[in-house]
């Protein structure tokens, strides 16, 4: 059994995993790129080793080097976090081949769920409903896809077999535009994943993105920790998640939870994973995909279940039995997470880099912040723009929302632009409060700076503050430009003064 874990990641998630190791009495080992020498994960770890230059291709994606470092420092296991190498079956295999433990599923399960078309076929065979599409057809040519498309019906989605993150994805409204969009999707998929294979899926309108957290041990136990509502997305990137989902009731949770466990069992799943579903307005649900790793949004589940998922991951990897049975799992209260990105919500969410000059975290009852930044740390252009996760718990959804509102107001990050104002606007929108949203809400029905109550008063205060700032500038510059108040030049005056004091 291992007692030292190498964390093959950076940023907030590396810090999160270090915390779990510490609490379990396990020694955390960090790896870092040139840009991350001063990162929090390096400062918090017991040991830290240099990986390579800043670009992830030369550092955090260097599986060979990471395995080498793990062997050299005698770590017994590797935790991949999310992103980077987390869903690469070849890396998981490399780790196993080096006699190390990969804290995650078996390589075969990563491979099965990584190929989206195979994943759909596998879970469909196990009786899990999938979004209607070209599942189980293998790799298709353009001609075959065009022939099948009318049977699925429009609108539909072209998706990359190796896909993720919205790359290689295209919406198709009519058969006429299909050939052009197919070419474009294949080109993008080829560029992003080195694999141009695509499949079709019916585009479900008014649907919600709801996912189930799974835990599975080596002893055949598979449980779910309830759902997370992740419909608030922009360009297929999640921005705000909550647990439970306002659309869920106990009956549906029980049924979908069982289905999620069944999907995991279909690939002989081990460790923590997430089954994503689309749920339409009639509460019909369809399997979307499985994420074979720890999710960014795992804290909302931790807040409502009280289970430390990362510690559970490590225990499972050590061969232990799950500490809870399905009956033990109760969702208590409500949790919301806002992903704080270094992006300018007022300028098309353009990423923002630079030195963090101030960072004041919100605290107080029911607040959790997972972050890897601090004042004096530079946000480099090399990695993801996620810099912090703000999570709030409340007894009810209403309390969680109000708590999030005050926490967002308290949070001060200066030096880079952040999407905190975006979250403040989302939280304040009536549709969000009423739970009236789907996956297209952010892109189609939401705008920043909608006029609301008290807006006029705020405008007045803003005008006053701008004027006071201007006035200060004014005074400063007029001191610079102001001519001598004496009638003679300062030099002359100084000369006289010196003579006088001689």
């Amino acid at each position: 059994m291992f007692n030292k874990v190498l964390i093959a990641n950076r940023g907030e998630i590396a810090v999160r995993i270090i915390r779990a190791c510490r609490e379990l009495g396990i020694i955390p080992v960090a790896v870092f790129s040139e840009a991350d020498r001063e990162s929090l994960h390096v400062r918090y770890a017991d040991e830290a080793y240099y990986l390579g230059p800043a670009p992830s291709r030369e550092s955090y994606l260097r599986g060979d080097k990471i395995v080498q470092i793990a062997k050299a420092c005698e770590a017994g296991a590797i935790h991949p976090g999310y992103g980077f190498l987390a869903e690469r079956d070849d890396f998981a295999l490399q780790v196993e081949d080096a006699d190390l433990i990969f804290i995650g599923p078996r390589p075969s399960a990563i491979a099965a769920m990584g190929d989206k078309a195979v994943a759909r076929a596998t879970v469909a065979a196990a009786g899990v409903p999938v979004v209607p599409g070209t599942e189980g057809e293998g790799d298709l040519t353009d001609e075959e896809i065009i022939a099948i498309a009318p049977q699925i019906g429009f609108p539909l989605l072209i998706k990359a077999t190796a896909g993720g993150g919205g790359k290689g994805m295209r919406e198709v409204q009519t058969i006429e535009e299909l050939p052009v969009l197919l070419t474009a999707a294949r080109r993008e998929a080829e560029a992003a994943f080195g694999d141009g294979n695509v499949y079709l899926e019916k585009l479900l309108l008014d649907s919600r993105h709801i996912e189930f957290q799974i835990l599975a041990d080596e002893h055949g136990n598979v449980i779910h920790l309830g759902e997370r509502e992740c419909s608030l997305q922009r360009r297929h990137q999640k921005l705000l998640e909550e647990s439970p989902s306002p659309f869920m009731d106990d009956d549906l949770r029980q049924i979908m939870g069982q289905v999620a466990c069944k999907a995991a069992e279909a690939v002989d799943y081990l460790n923590a994973g997430t089954i994503e579903f689309l749920v339409d307005k009639d509460q019909k649900y369809y399997f979307l995909e499985m994420n074979t790793r720890l999710q960014v949004e795992h804290p909302v589940t931790e807040m409502v279940t009280g289970i430390d998922i990362v510690k559970e991951q490590i225990r499972i990897a050590r061969g232990r039995k799950l500490r809870s049975t399905q009956d033990d799992i109760r969702l208590k209260g409500w949790a919301i997470e806002c992903r704080i990105n270094a992006e300018d919500p007022y300028n098309d969410f353009l990423p923002s880099t630079g030195m963090i000059t101030q960072s004041i975290l919100p605290t107080g009852p029911g607040i959790r912040v997972d972050t890897g930044i601090y004042a004096g740390f530079a946000i480099s252009p090399f990695y993801d723009s996620l810099i912090s996760k703000l999570i709030c718990w409340g007894e009810t959804r209403g309390e969680a929302i109000l708590r999030m509102r005050r926490a967002l107001e308290e949070y001060r990050i200066l030096g880079v632009k952040t999407n905190i104002p975006f979250h403040q606007n989302i939280i304040a929108s009536h549709r969000f409060m009423g739970g009236q949203f789907d996956t297209r809400f952010v892109e189609q029905r939401f705008s920043m700076n909608e006029s609301g109550e008290g807006k006029e008063e705020l405008e007045r205060i803003a005008a006053i503050m701008a004027t006071l700032v201007e006035h200060r500038q004014h005074q400063k510059s007029s001191q610079i430009f102001r001519k001598s108040e004496r009638d003679t030049s300062n030099w002359k005056w100084l000369g006289r003064w010196e003579k006088m004091n001689r």
Binding site: E409, I464, E470
Partner: protein, 165 residues
């Protein structure tokens, strides 16, 4: 000192006379205004109410981020207001343009000579007024047709300084 803060098509008149009082559209307010920890973040107590905002300059004015809302605000004092009115949007793209002095003052320097080609935005004259040096920029491309002042001249408000054609 009197200012006009504009936000879109709204205008607020603000008079600042001391450190602890301002007059907004004729109404008096007690204020206490601090910048915090050397950052562009400001704390305002106004008639007992507390506000905090990030205030940063941008190309078009000052950006104020307050309670999750971003406001773009242009602040002019009387002098700048007159400056703006002179070089404002009323000028034509064709024909001769007579640059007039927006305020009484002293010509500090003249950066062009007659017959010289200039581009929009070129600095033509530095005019000192109200103890401040103001750059007068060319409102458009053209040629300096006639120059009616030289450095050291005192000029009156609205006096024609040069003609750009």
């Amino acid at each position: 000192m009197k200012y006009v803060a504009s936000l879109g098509d709204q205008e607020v008149e603000i008079e600042i006379n001391g450190e602890d009082e301002i007059i907004v559209d004729g109404e008096h307010y007690a204020i206490d205004f601090h910048s915090i920890a050397g950052q562009p973040i400001y704390s305002l107590l106004i008639n007992g109410r507390s506000y905090e905002a990030l205030v940063q300059p941008s190309d078009e004015g000052l950006e104020v981020l307050l309670q999750g809302q971003l406001f773009l605000i242009c602040v002019d004092d009387e002098r700048q207001r007159r400056l703006r009115q002179t070089s404002g949007p009323q000028l034509l793209e064709r024909g001769e343009f007579h640059m007039k002095s927006p305020m009484p003052g002293l010509i500090i320097s003249v950066n062009v000579r007659e017959g010289q080609k200039v581009s929009k935005g070129d600095r033509l004259i530095i005019l000192e007024s109200m103890k401040m040096q103001n750059e007068l920029k060319s409102p458009r491309d053209g040629i300096i047709r006639s120059l009616r002042i030289k450095s050291g001249d005192n000029v009156e408000q609205n006096q024609v300084l040069m003609t750009v054609g």
